[in-house]
Each structure stands twice: as structure tokens, then as C-alpha cells.
């Protein structure tokens, strides 16, 4: 488990994007995300991606940090990419290879799998290792001459449309993730909560109090580090009694997680009781009207941001209709 993780991705800065009202930021980024879905050609989507990168650069947001935002979705992206290539069978064939299975290639594959589990202990980026190994297995099936050729597996074909669609989907996904990363990097969690509180205010019609939901979020954000520390403390306590959280088989791990979760729940309930008392004694009455310390300011420049993002949405709808 990573001991130095930060809640949210907020990075301090003072470029124009930091000064936009968080409500406006959320709404315009949603508008931009919607407009991505109207772009059907790969040229348009590449242009859009360039636009997103332009925002990144002009807002002086570190590109490395933004790319880090993509990392959690890397596996999904690669999966989607390959599924698209395999499923879509339209257009001319770009690549056509015969996959064969031979004793030698099976042997190599088994060796590679073994090598994967051997290397797992020493290499941290497991996903990359997995893909390297899978690629090597593919190569072994592809290129190792099938001396005692057992069976011809299948023809590995890549079609032009499949390749284009998968590229298109990939770029679309990357630009959406980049947009949301821009939002989370440039807005503090408390500002985000405030903005969402404002955005969800109309839900009062359905008797949903957005203020209370925002308060729940604030408290959750406040207690993530506290409860995480608690978890480490319990893990240390269990480890001192011989529980090994790092290396054990799957079923044992589940048992260990239960031994972690039960005390965590008990402690959290106690905590929430005490917190509720503390809140009550500070004159908190649910549903009672109250003032707000943070006031969100809607400025003229914010209006421009909304208009600009609406223009982009309009433009992409035009392209969608015309082409």
C-alpha cells in the first residue's frame, strides 16, 4: 500500500485556470466532454486533443502530473484498444499473420510465464512487465518455426477500420481523462465540494439537501487521512502478531482484510459518534439555514469561459451535422 498518497490531485499554482470559478470550471469541462462525442473523424478528434494539450501548456500544469492522471485507466485503455482491433473487421487488411502452435513455442511461453512470476518480486510496474511478457509470448507463437507443427491456431488479422476506430476511441478517452485531470489538478477538494453543492441545489425539489451532501463530502475528505493512519496502525498491530499482509495466498488475504475491516468499522463508528456530538455542541442543526464562509464569485471572465466552451460544443455539433 502506498504510504504517501495525497487526496485528490490538487497541485498549487496561479495560472488563469486556477482563477476560474470552480462551478464554471466543472460546467465548462462537462460541456467540452460532451462535445468530444460529436466529433466523428479522427482529424477532428486529433485537433481537439491538441486543444486540450494547449490548455494544459498555457495553464502551466505539469504534463507529467497530467499523464499520471491517465495511469489508473491505462489498463482499460489498452484493453479497449485491443478489443477494437480484434472485433472490428471492416476495410482492407493491414496485417495478416498466421499463428501456429508448436512444442517449442509452448515451451518458450511456459518459460516466459515462469519468468514473469520470478521478475514480479523485483519490478514494481507490474502492468508493463505483463505486457512485455504477453508480447514476447505472441512473438514466440508468431516467429518460432514450428518444427513439430502441432496445429495452426488462427490467422491474426488487423483491418484498417479496426485500427482507425481503436485509435479514435483511445484518443477520445485520453482527451476526456486529460480534461478531468485539469479540473482536479487546478481545483482544491473543498472548492470542488462547494461547486457541487451549488450545482446540485435545484435537487431541493426532490427534497435532497445539497448542503448536507456537501458536508458529508467535506467530512469524508477530512477523515480519509485519519482513517488511513488508523488502518496502518491496526496493520502494524496485526503484523506484530504474525499476520503477513504482503505475501500470502488469496484466501488468506481475504481473511486478513476481514481482520482489518472489523476493527476499522468499530473505530469509525465510535469516531462518528464523537464527531456528531462535537458538531451538535457547535450548534449544528441539520437543515437549519446557515451562512457560508467561502463565497464563490462569478466574474466576467468566467462568463467568457462558459461562452467559449459553448462555442466549441456548437462547433462540434455543426461538424457532426455537416459531415
Amino acid at each position: 500500500m502506498n504510504k504517501n498518497f495525497v487526496i485528490g490531485q490538487y497541485v498549487k499554482g496561479d495560472s488563469y485556470i486556477y482563477k476560474i470559478d470552480p462551478r464554471v470550471k466543472i460546467i465548462s469541462i462537462l460541456i467540452l466532454m460532451v462535445s468530444v462525442f460529436f466529433l466523428k473523424s479522427i482529424v477532428a478528434i486529433l485537433l481537439f486533443m491538441a486543444f486540450v494539450i494547449l490548455i494544459l501548456l498555457t495553464a502551466r500544469i505539469s504534463v507529467i502530473k497530467a499523464i499520471k492522471g491517465i495511469r489508473p485507466l491505462l489498463l482499460l485503455m489498452i484493453f479497449i484498444f485491443f478489443i477494437q482491433i480484434l472485433i472490428n473487421m471492416n476495410g482492407p487488411i493491414v496485417l495478416d499473420k498466421e499463428m501456429t502452435l508448436s512444442l517449442l513455442s509452448i515451451g518458450i511461453a511456459v518459460l516466459l510465464v515462469l519468468a514473469y512470476f520470478m521478475l514480479l518480486r523485483y519490478i514494481k510496474t507490474k502492468i508493463i512487465l505483463l505486457f512485455i511478457i504477453l508480447f514476447l509470448i505472441y512473438l514466440s507463437f508468431r516467429f518460432v518455426p514450428g518444427i513439430p507443427n502441432i496445429i495452426k491456431l488462427f490467422n491474426f488479422r488487423v483491418y484498417k477500420d479496426g485500427l482507425m476506430t481503436s485509435l479514435y476511441v483511445l484518443i477520445r478517452l485520453v482527451s476526456i481523462v486529460l480534461l478531468s485531470t485539469i479540473l482536479t489538478i487546478s481545483t482544491t477538494p473543498s472548492d470542488l465540494t462547494l461547486a457541487f453543492e451549488w450545482i446540485f441545489r435545484p435537487l431541493k425539489i426532490f427534497k435532497i439537501n445539497s448542503e448536507e451532501i456537501a458536508l458529508i463530502f467535506t467530512i469524508a475528505l477530512r477523515y480519509i487521512p485519519t482513517i488511513r493512519d488508523e488502518a496502518f496502525k491496526i496493520m502494524d498491530a496485526q503484523a506484530s502478531r504474525g499476520v503477513d499482509f504482503k505475501e500470502s495466498i488469496f484466501f488468506k488475504k481475504i481473511k486478513q482484510i476481514v481482520s482489518l475491516l472489523v476493527p476499522m468499522f468499530v473505530i469509525s463508528f465510535e469516531r462518528s459518534d464523537e464527531l456528531a456530538d462535537a458538531m451538535l455542541s457547535r450548534n449544528f442543526v441539520p437543515g437549519r439555514p446557515k451562512t457560508h464562509y467561502h463565497q464563490l464569485m462569478f466574474r466576467f471572465s468566467d462568463l467568457l469561459v462558459v461562452i467559449f466552451s459553448l462555442l466549441i460544443l456548437g462547433g462540434s455539433i455543426c461538424i457532426y451535422i455537416l459531415l
Partner: protein, 284 residues
């Protein structure tokens, strides 16, 4: 007319600013015995009262009743001229606040200033006035530099000080300290104690729940609870010398006092030394 006004002022001084508890009884749902068993006392304005007793004597329960968190079974509680009822709770809590034992479980927001603002928001104070109030409250606990800090990056003592400043910001006249120093290291504990002394000087009423005799000695009056009953309500010097009360409530008298009593018992009569020892006891 004038006489009536004067009477009103006297009424203000005597009644409004104090807590009057009469025959208070409280019982937890799952217990057979009363947690608070018919106690009566009064607390005057600008008084520092310590409530001491063994674990389970009903100290914290009493604090929770005074804060309106637990509902009394019977008896009368009058606080700041309001009767303690559900309807009056909002007004009563405008006068009284509590600092809990665990500083970790009192914060609502991640950032110090946001947390102090939480109480102000509930009191419906205008947002443009909040910043100056927060600055003042932080200055009182000498934590001005911590305004923008993350709560989870603070030490236990610092957290407790922020918790106190968030109570001070609400401009209350009575503050309950519910074992507020028991989880702190000696240095932070001394800091909190000197802060409480300052608050007392500023005219606040202090109710201090503790099982540390050294802390109780600094107060104006001690109320000793045992099994939900008041067994002694007197100035700390008298409570300390009453060994029967101390044993009944499982309290440990300070070592210096023990020495003092032992010397006296043995017939040691050097008055200077005895006086010095007694002074030392009181200073702890």
C-alpha cells in the same frame, strides 16, 4: 423605574450567567443503575469548577447532559436563564461549548480556518466578518500561522488548541473541558492549562472534567462525583485533605501532599517546611 432596572441588572448578574442543576437524574437505556443519581449544584459566572471522579462516575455524562447531547430523565437544569429543553438547545449552545478528549474527532473540515468557520456558519455570522473573527480566535491561542494548515498535519497539542480556538471564535461564556489534556504530552498539557488560566482571567466560566488532581487544584472549586452522586463540593484544598473522599473516588493525591500528610502524622512540626510543602502542593 430605576429600581426595577437595577433589579433587572442584579437578576442578570445572579441568575442569567450561571448554571443551576437540581436533583438531576439520568439513566442509560441499557443500564440498571442511574448514571447520574439526583445531583444538585450551581456554577457561578467566571468560576473555574473542576468535576473529578473515577472512571464511570458520571463526569462525562454530566457534561453531555449540560451540552444537551443526552436527555435528562428527571430534575431541573437551568442554564443562562433557559430551561434545558429541546427547544432551548440552540440558545443554550450559544453560551456553552465543549472541548473533547480526543482532538482528532472534533474537526469537520480539512483546513484549520474552514473548521473554525463551521461554528460561525451555524451561528449565521455574515461571511465577510468571519475572517477577522477567525484571526482573533487563532491569535488567542497563539496559532496565527496555522490558519491555512491541514488539520492532519498538526500535533495533538496543536489540534487541541485549534479545537479550543474554534470554541472561542463562537464567543461563548462557558467552556467545558472534557478531559481535554489526557491525551497530550506534558508540554502540550502545560500549554493548554496556561491557556485555560488565561480564559478564566478573560472572564470565561470554566468547567473542567478531569481525573488529574494536579489540574483540579488550580480551580476555584471541586465537585467530586462517585457513582453518579456528589460526594464533595468544596474548595480544592479541602477536597485534597479529605482522604475518605479521595479513596472513595479512586483518586491519587499528589506525592507532595502525601509527604505533607505523612510528616504531619509523624509529628514533624517545622512550620516553614510544612508551609513550603503545602505551597508546592497548590502550585502543581
Amino acid at each position: 423605574m430605576r429600581a426595577a432596572y437595577a433589579a433587572l441588572i442584579i437578576y442578570d448578574i445572579i441568575i442569567i450567567m450561571s448554571i443551576i442543576v437540581k436533583d438531576l437524574v439520568f439513566k442509560y437505556e441499557d443500564s440498571r443503575t442511574n448514571a447520574i443519581d439526583g445531583i444538585s449544584f450551581t456554577i457561578n459566572d467566571n468560576e473555574w469548577v473542576s468535576i473529578i471522579g473515577h472512571n464511570g462516575s458520571g463526569k462525562s455524562t454530566l457534561a453531555k447532559i449540560l451540552m444537551g447531547i443526552l436527555e435528562k430523565k428527571s430534575g431541573d437544569v437551568n442554564m443562562f436563564s433557559y430551561d434545558l429543553t429541546e427547544d432551548n438547545m440552540y440558545d443554550i449552545r450559544r453560551h456553552i461549548g465543549i472541548v473533547h478528549q480526543n482532538p482528532d474527532n472534533q474537526f469537520v473540515s480539512t483546513i484549520v480556518k474552514d473548521d473554525i468557520a463551521f461554528g460561525l456558519e451555524n451561528l449565521c455570522i455574515e461571511s465577510n466578518k468571519m475572517d477577522s473573527i477567525i484571526d482573533d480566535a487563532l491569535a488567542k491561542v497563539s496559532m496565527t500561522n496555522f490558519k491555512e494548515r491541514d488539520v492532519s498535519s498538526l500535533s495533538g497539542g496543536e489540534r487541541q488548541k485549534i479545537a479550543i480556538s474554534s470554541i472561542l471564535a463562537m464567543n461563548l461564556d462557558t467552556i467545558i473541558f472534557d478531559e481535554s489534556t489526557s491525551m497530550l504530552d506534558p508540554y502540550s498539557r502545560d500549554e493548554i492549562i496556561s491557556l485555560i488560566k488565561e480564559l478564566k482571567r478573560d472572564g470565561k466560566t470554566i468547567i473542567m472534567i478531569t481525573h488529574d488532581m494536579a489540574e483540579a487544584l488550580m480551580s476555584d472549586r471541586c465537585i467530586v462525583l462517585s457513582k453518579g452522586k456528589i460526594i464533595k463540593d468544596d474548595i480544592p484544598e479541602k477536597v485534597l485533605t479529605d482522604t475518605s473522599v479521595l479513596t472513595l473516588s479512586n483518586l491519587e493525591s499528589p506525592r507532595v501532599l502525601y509527604l505533607f500528610n505523612k510528616l504531619k502524622e509523624e509529628g514533624y512540626d517545622n512550620k516553614e517546611v510544612l508551609d513550603a510543602l503545602w505551597q508546592l502542593t497548590l502550585k502543581m
